[in-house]
Amino acid sequence: MKVFSQLGEYLLFLRQVFTRPDKFRIFHQQAVKEVESIGLESLWIVSIISIFMGAVATIQMAFNIDTPLIPKYTIGFATRQTIILEFSPTMISLILAGKVGSKIASEIGTMRVTEQIDAMEIMGVNPANYLILPKIAAAVFINPVLIIISIVLALMGGWIVGTATSLVTSTDYILGLRSWYQSYDVFYALIKTVVFAFLITSISGFYGYITRGGAEDVGKASTKAVVQSSIFIILFNLILTQLLLND
């Protein structure tokens, strides 16, 4: 029962979030700020993880395709597919759920328990719209950029390690990367990313927004935000894969 009442509360919250901003100029300013705090501040961790994961993926492919029957360039091809279809959009989004989700929930939760949200409401501002919409907009815009960067860096990581350890030649790896390329795969990755970006920011914003009590409750809200966004990412990953790849 609690699940349904919370879902209802979440939908009501979204309705408050998705109203037309009173002052568009301010919305724009806020969104730009959020692009910086959600996107640019995550660039470093996204890059590091992507390079290493690309490297590991390549090594594992090489070990598993250790038969003369399968051509070496398959390593590049298989690495590319894992990275584009699953690793970059899903795993990086899960990491962002941890980093960005906890940040949003604790920021909004703190504003709630220190009555900053009440203060805003009294000043004639719709706090859900003013605080959350720029975050959703920023993430939906910048996360696909992060994912593209992640894909590129992961493939580079694979190339560096693959060639440095002589598991695969540069020519084979690059040939693999270019084989059977379908732009639909990238489209699928970006659709997933956009949905995940929405889930992370709206769910975390929601848990922050409904926080009651004090500092301890802000901590709890932040944990809940990360857990719930992650669960919903996994769930929607399955749904979207079923919808988009199952033809």
């Binding site: 009173d22 002052k23 301010i26 703190t110 504003m111 220190t114 009555e115 900053q116 009440d118 203060a119 805003m120 409401e121 009294i122 000043m123 004639g124 501002v125």
Partner: protein, 251 residues
Amino acid sequence: MIEVNHISKQFDGKQVLQDITTRFIRGKNNLIIGQSGSGKTVLLKCIIGLYIIDEGDILFEGKSLMEMDPASRKNLRKEFGTLFQGGALFSSLTVEENVMFPLTMNTAMDREEKLERVNFCLKRVRLENANKLYPSQLSGGMTKRVAIARAISLNPKYLFCDEPNSGLDPSTANVIDKLINEITEEYQITTIVNTHDMNSVMEIGDQVAFIYQGQLWWEGSRNDILQSSNKELNDFVFATELTKKLKHKSA
């Protein structure tokens, strides 16, 4: 004037306010006193419309809050200045931006006009040269002053203060009380102050409403308090040795 008529409020089946009727007078400091947890904050938030009351009505200059359409409610809110318990300054904005926020969201003033108004308000609370500081860099007393400056920036008709001197040392608390008092008289505002601080009551309590377990238990002026024979009020007021001595002297 604000009139509260038979209002009740409950949370998850727990009755927090019960059939409260009282009124708050223009140009006066109307105090709501009571123990921690007695329902002062909830009452204040019902009056400003942050909580929706279960029963009763609230009238602002005779106009019913319950019967107002959303647009009139929004306009009414522009006449509110609110000082929340911890100050509730926006932590990501500077002092100047905090005081400017209500102006930006509610008026068509250009930047210069806004800045002029901000500086006027900050000067009014005797806080100059703090424009560029962030809330985390302010002392408790400064935080309250900025919050007052922000509350008066739109020239409110009503001022609501939730425990304005909680967490302050007695002399700073006194300064804040006096400031609220001055502003109330100067601009003839209807001011409501929640407090559990007897010093404030004696200092600025033009009209005092005592809330006990969610009910209006006693009403009167600060002078009546010392003479009252209401047991719960006496227990609340004369809780400390110091105030007990005061009672002996006045008797």
